[in-house]
Subunit: 251 residues, 2 copies
DNA sequence: CTCGTCGAGTTAGAGCCTCTAACGAACGCT
DNA sequence: AGCGTTCGTTAGAGGCTCTAACTCGACGAG
């Protein structure tokens, strides 16, 4: 339980030469992973603002400045944790999609939504980390956009089987413009939903994303606290309604 | 432009006696308002983590510790800004509701949604402030729940005119339990939607809240950046779909 | 096996921050 | 005019991020 955040172990050394498994660099990678794990524990306990490099170092039995041999600074560490978070969420979504592979679309949508919520509520502060302003001048690096796409990918395959009606047609028209303007997005959609109309799949996925974030974001930030309902019920209703609006085949 | 955040000027002195307009306390209230305005400016520029009491004091021409005569600490100041933010949002919603008073429900729903989004995008960091973890150990005070209710109030009157179907019935059942369990919520709903079924109004409002937060939250956090669509289109489609699902009369 | 090199970890310190304590000085009230 | 309240100050404790300079042990080539 509780979402194991494995480090993705990206060995992006500055000098980028080979020989990634020298004993020196293996030790380095291990310490990096330990730092990330300890930092994640702090974030899980008190949110992003509570992350202190000094405290992390002390927890690992060394002094503060030592961490700067492994990360360029606090923001660098946060960025890696954010990327790991996206990867973790993407893995959870992909696993859910695989588990529900043969099921009808509506059921697959519910499976994906449930997986998304389970991942987010398993580590609420990490979810907030992906979408907040953790540091005064923090700027999310551009690669996070790709990783966010990886999280939403499985939705494309399911929602591409629907069709837009009513006000969603306006949304689809904008999606079509976006697709025409940016080939990587087009490739992304075609990779996940090859047989569907790309703009339809995209419109449905963006809508689903907004609904997922709506329910899960409020839940994670504790704004449902004291309310007498289970967020799962709301999420189920939201997905059911989306499936209805897109005409997804019932079970 | 961009949403004047007037201080709500709550004169909650500790000794709570009368005589709120003595020259001393009027000066005090004015300085408090200046502090809050300067702090808000910092937050608008760099988000909640960028708020520094020292910098605020320097900006007002005095030293850091002087602010502790006016606020118990950083969290206290943040709490007041959060409350002011809620009040501001509630005022914007109420104004929109008044402007669209005679219109059909569907149109009123769009007016409220547009007002909500306009308020949030006018001060994105303030929106994030209301729903984030601004400080390591920060705990939102209980009165924020009442203020959040004030923001959503106008939605009750509109959505109480719909009726739940499908999966929303489960949600409505939970709402009914909640209503039975907490009289203040019941009073709140009846104050805004006296002629409607309270559980239906509540279910619709919670759903609308989640959808508003879904679209606006993603937009405010910049996650739509680089995407080729206008969030307003998505929001319109979401509200239109909600109106359809609840059977709100068309224009 | 030896020795130069490289890097991990240290201390020292600058410059922020929040927040407390103690002190002068201005102000309003009686 | 005197007195108490309150405002703003300085001094300082303790924390943070991050840099600079140093020590020392381990790795790797000969």
């Amino acid at each position: 339980m509780a979402g194991s955040f494995g480090s993705s172990g990206s060995s992006d050394d500055a000098h980028g030469s080979g020989k990634a498994s020298s004993p020196r660099s293996r030790y380095r990678d291990q310490v990096r992973a330990e730092i990330k794990a300890a930092a994640l524990e702090q974030i899980r306990a008190g949110g992003a603002p509570a992350l202190s490099l000094n405290a992390v170092a002390k927890g690992l039995g060394l002094t503060g400045p030592a961490l700067y041999k492994y990360f360029r600074g606090r923001d660098d560490l946060l960025t890696e944790l954010i990327c790991d978070g996206y990867d973790d969420a993407a893995a959870a979504m992909r696993a859910a999609a695989d588990r529900a592979a043969g099921a009808p679309p509506r059921q697959r949508l519910h499976a994906l939504a449930t997986a998304f919520r389970a991942w987010a509520t398993g580590a609420p502060h990490v979810y907030q980390l992906l979408a907040g302003t953790p540091s005064p001048g923090y700027q999310a690096p551009p690669e996070t956009a790709d990783r966010a796409r990886a999280v939403l990918g499985p939705l494309l395959g399911v929602l591409g089987q629907g069709d837009c009606r009513g006000a969603a047609l306006d949304l689809r028209a904008e999606m079509r413009c976006w697709l025409n303007g940016s080939p990587p997005v087009q490739q992304w959609v075609e990779g996940w939903a090859p047989d569907a109309d790309a703009a339809t799949a995209l419109a449905g996925t963006v809508t689903a994303w907004a609904r997922l974030h709506g329910v899960v974001g409020l839940e994670v930030q504790g704004l449902f606290g004291g309310m007498g309902h289970r967020p799962g019920t709301l999420l189920h209703a939201e997905m059911e309604n989306l499936a209805d609006a897109l005409g997804l085949p019932a079970d």
